[in-house]
C-alpha cells in the first residue's frame, strides 16, 4: 500500500509539472459542454415550408397559421402547383411542402376524412421525423378540436380526443439538446480521458525507460498499476462533477435521480476504461501509438452508442456491436438516473452488461500486463 501511494504521489507530481495536460483535462468538460449545448443544436425547428393551398378558405388559412405557431414550420411562401414544390425542395428553398386539398373546409364541416399531404425532403432523416411527427400531432389536435368544438376552447389537448396521434414527448418536453447532452458528455469524456491517460501514462514509462526501473523494483503489478491509475480515477470523477455542475449552471440540467447511484455506477464504467487503457499500453510501443489507439476506440463510442445518433435508428447488427462498448450502457444509466430518476433495479440489464464488460477487460489486461519487459 505504501508503494502504491508512492507511485500515485509521483504520478501527481509529474501531472502538476505537466500544466498543459492538466489544463486540458480540467477545461475540457466545460468547453465541450458549451460547444455541444449551444452550437450543436439537434432539435429541428424552423423547417422551411412552402404551402400549396387549393382550398383558399378561412379554415385552410387557420391551419397554416397553427402550423407556423408550433415553431417547427416557417412558412416561406405560397406556391401554385406540385411542380413549384418540387423546385423549392430541389433548390433547398424549402424542406417541406404542404398541400391543402380543395374542398378542405367543406370536407371538414361534413366530417369527412381529410388527407393533407406533406412532401418532405428526406435527405435529413431527423428533419423527416420531426416534420411528420409534428404534422401528425397537429392533425390529431385539430381533429379533436373539430370533433368537440366547445371543449377545444378551454382544453386545447383533451385527453379523450377521438384521434389521438399526438406525439407525447416525456422527460424533455422542450427537446433541449443540453439536457440530453450532459449525461452523454459525462460518458464520452470519461471514455476519452480514462483510456487515453492510462494508456499514455504507462507507455510514457516504457518509452522513457522508467518502466524497466519499476519492473526491477519489488513493487507488485497491482502496486505499479494501481498507483499509476489512482490519480486518474480522481480526475475522472472530477470531470464528471464539472460536467454536472456546468450543465446545471448553464443549462439547468436536472438531476432527477440519485447522484450517489450515478457515482457508484460510474466506478464500473471507469474501471472498464482503465483496464482497456492498460491493455492498449501493453500493445502500443510509443505514446503516439497509444494516443492513436485511444482515438480509434473513441470514434465508435461517439457514433454508435447513442451519444449523437439515436440508438434505435441504427441497423440491428450495429446495435449488437454497440453492446460491447461500455458507453452504450453507461449512457442509458446516466440518462435514466439524471433525467428520469431511475433506480438501480430499473437498470439491471445495463448494470449486468457493464459488470460483464469490466470483468472481461480486467481479465484481458491482467493476462497481457506482465511485470516483465517483454
Amino acid at each position: 500500500m505504501r508503494r502504491l501511494l508512492a507511485v500515485s504521489l509521483k504520478e501527481l507530481r509529474q501531472l502538476r509539472r505537466d500544466r498543459l495536460t492538466l489544463a486540458m483535462m480540467l477545461s475540457m468538460p466545460v468547453s465541450e459542454l458549451l460547444l455541444l449545448g449551444y452550437a450543436i443544436n439537434t432539435d429541428i425547428r424552423h423547417i422551411q415550408t412552402v404551402v400549396l393551398d387549393r382550398d383558399r378558405s378561412a379554415a385552410s388559412r387557420r391551419l397554416v397559421v397553427q402550423m407556423q405557431a408550433t415553431g417547427y414550420y416557417d412558412i416561406v411562401g405560397d406556391v401554385e402547383n406540385y411542380e413549384d414544390i418540387a423546385r423549392a425542395l430541389r433548390s433547398g428553398r424549402a424542406t417541406v411542402g404542404l398541400v391543402v386539398p380543395a374542398r378542405f373546409s367543406s370536407d371538414l364541416t361534413r366530417r369527412r376524412p381529410v388527407r393533407l399531404q406533406l412532401l418532405v425532403d428526406g435527405s435529413d432523416p431527423q428533419i423527416l421525423g420531426t416534420a411528420i411527427d409534428t404534422a401528425t400531432g397537429l392533425a390529431a389536435a385539430r381533429s379533436a378540436e373539430l370533433a368537440t368544438p366547445g371543449l377545444a376552447q378551454t382544453h386545447p389537448r383533451p385527453a379523450s380526443a377521438p384521434l389521438s396521434f399526438e406525439p407525447i414527448i416525456l422527460y424533455n418536453p422542450e427537446q433541449r439538446t443540453a439536457v440530453y447532452i450532459v449525461p452523454g458528455l459525462i460518458g464520452v469524456l470519461l471514455t476519452m480521458t480514462m483510456v487515453m491517460l492510462t494508456a499514455m501514462a504507462l507507455t510514457r514509462e516504457r518509452e522513457r525507460g522508467t518502466l524497466e526501473a519499476l519492473i526491477v523494483s519489488p513493487a507488485t503489478r497491482l502496486e505499479i498499476v494501481g498507483g499509476k491509475i489512482a490519480p486518474y480515477i480522481a480526475i475522472g470523477y472530477g470531470q464528471m462533477t464539472l460536467v454536472l455542475l456546468a450543465g446545471w449552471w448553464f443549462f439547468d440540467v436536472p438531476t432527477a435521480g440519485s447522484l450517489p447511484l450515478l457515482y457508484l455506477l460510474a466506478a464500473l464504467f471507469i474501471a472498464a476504461h482503465l483496464a482497456l487503457g492498460l491493455l492498449f499500453s501493453t500493445v502500443a510501443r510509443t505514446q503516439q501509438q497509444a494516443m492513436q489507439m485511444s482515438f480509434f476506440f473513441l470514434l465508435p463510442n461517439i457514433l454508435i452508442t447513442g451519444f449523437v445518433f439515436p440508438f434505435e435508428s441504427m441497423p440491428l447488427s450495429v446495435q449488437h456491436l454497440a453492446q460491447a462498448l461500455p458507453l452504450t450502457h453507461f449512457l442509458r444509466v446516466a440518462r435514466r438516473i439524471l433525467l428520469k430518476g431511475a433506480h438501480a433495479e430499473d437498470m439491471n440489464h445495463e448494470i449486468a452488461w457493464l459488470a460483464a464488460i469490466v470483468a472481461v477487460f480486467i481479465a484481458a489486461a491482467a493476462v497481457r500486463f506482465k511485470k516483465k519487459l517483454l
Binding site: 505504501r2 508512492a6 509521483k10 525507460g209 522508467t210 519492473i215 526491477v216 523494483s217 519489488p218 519487459l373
Partner: protein, 312 residues
C-alpha cells in the same frame, strides 16, 4: 578483491531469443561476493539482454540463473528486493526533482520513516547531490545524472548492483570519481556487475567476461585474459606511418596495426613477427627512429578477439 567464494550470481547456460535472432547464447557466469565483474562486448553483443535476464526483467528462453541465492525464474521478487539496477539509458523521471526521484525510489523499495530519511541523507551525501535536491533531474548534466542514477539504484543498500554502461557520455574526471565510488562499494562488500566499452574501466574490474554475438568468449582476471590472448606489442616511431601501416598490415602473425601520431602500434602473436616487421620496414627504406616492446592491454586482447570473431 573478493574475499569469499560465495556466489552472488550463478548463471547457467542462459539464452534469449528474439524471434529468430539469438541475442544471448548459452552464457554461464559466476560472480563472487565483493567482486567487480566487468562485461565487455561490441554493440549488440547481448550485454544488456544478459543483465536484464539476471535482474528478472526479461525471461530467458533457456538456462537458469541463481542471483543473491534465489532462482530468478521462480522467485523474481526475492531477487528484485536485493539488487540495484542502473539501466543503460537514463531512466529516472526527468520531470521530478533530484529529491523527488530519490524519495520515490526509497518508498518503492519499502523504506519508511527515520530509516528512509537516513538513507536519503546518506546517498545525497555520498553522491554530493545534497546541494542540488531541488533541481529537475532532466536539467542535470551527464555526470550528475549518472550520480543520481547510482544514488537511486543503491538507496536500499543492495548486496548486488548491476550497472549497464554507467559512464557512457561522462567526462573523464567524473568517470574516475565514479569508479572510486564503485571500488568503495565493493570494498564494503557490495558485488558489482558492470558493462562497459571503456578499456581503462575494464582493467579496473576484478574479473571480466568478453561477450560477442551473445556468447562468452573468454572470462577471468584481466591479466589472465591478456596473457591468454598471447599478444606481443611493439611500437615503432616512424616518419611515414601510412606507408609503414600499408607494409605491415597482413603480415603473417600481425593481429593489429594501428597508429597514433608517429607511433605505429603493432600487436602480434609471438616474438618472430616483430623481427620480420622490422626487417620489412628496413628493406623498404623507411626510417625507424625507435622501437620498443610494451605490455599488451585488455584493449589489445578485446580488439584481437572481435577481429578473430569477424573473420570467422
Amino acid at each position: 578483491m573478493p574475499d569469499s567464494d560465495e556466489l552472488v550470481v550463478d548463471a547457467q547456460h542462459l539464452s534469449r531469443r528474439f524471434g529468430a535472432h539469438v541475442a544471448v547464447r548459452d552464457v554461464s557466469l559466476q560472480v563472487r561476493r565483493g567482486e567487480i565483474f566487468g562485461v565487455l562486448g561490441p554493440n549488440g553483443a547481448g550485454k544488456s539482454t544478459a543483465l536484464r535476464m539476471l535482474c528478472g526483467v526479461l525471461d530467458p528462453t533457456g538456462g537458469r540463473a541463481v542471483v543473491v541465492g534465489h532462482d530468478v525464474a521462480r522467485e523474481p521478487e526475492r531477487v528484485k528486493a536485493n539488487i540495484g539496477y542502473m539501466t543503460q539509458s537514463f531512466s529516472l523521471y526527468t520531470d521530478l526533482t533530484v529529491a523527488e526521484n530519490i524519495g520515490f525510489y526509497a518508498s518503492l523499495y519499502g523504506l519508511a520513516g527515520a530509516a528512509r530519511r537516513r538513507r536519503i541523507d546518506a546517498v545525497l551525501h555520498e553522491s554530493e547531490l545534497a546541494a542540488r535536491t531541488g533541481q529537475l533531474a532532466g536539467e542535470l548534466s551527464g555526470g550528475w545524472k549518472q550520480r543520481l542514477a547510482l544514488a537511486c539504484a543503491t538507496i536500499h543498500q543492495p548486496p548486488l548492483i548491476f550497472l549497464d554502461e554507467p559512464t557512457a557520455g561522462v567526462d573523464p574526471l567524473s568517470r574516475r570519481e565514479f569508479w572510486e565510488r564503485i571500488h568503495g562499494l565493493a570494498a564494503a562488500g557490495t558485488t558489482v556487475v558492470v558493462t562497459t566499452h571503456y578499456m581503462d574501466e575494464a582493467e579496473r574490474c576484478h574479473r571480466l567476461a568478453f561477450i560477442s554475438h551473445g556468447e562468452v568468449f573468454d572470462s577471468g582476471r584481466p591479466d589472465d585474459i591478456v596473457a591468454r590472448a598471447g599478444l606481443a606489442i611493439a611500437e615503432f616511431i616512424v616518419d611515414d606511418v601510412d606507408q609503414a601501416t600499408y607494409l605491415l598490415q597482413g603480415l603473417p602473425g600481425v593481429e593489429e596495426c594501428a597508429h597514433y601520431g608517429r607511433v605505429l602500434r603493432l600487436a602480434v602473436h609471438g616474438g618472430e613477427p616483430v623481427a620480420a616487421a622490422r626487417a620489412r620496414l628496413d628493406r623498404a627504406g623507411l626510417a625507424v627512429h625507435d622501437m620498443r616492446e610494451s605490455r599488451a592491454t585488455v584493449e589489445d586482447a578485446f580488439v584481437a578477439m572481435v577481429r578473430r570473431e569477424r573473420r570467422a
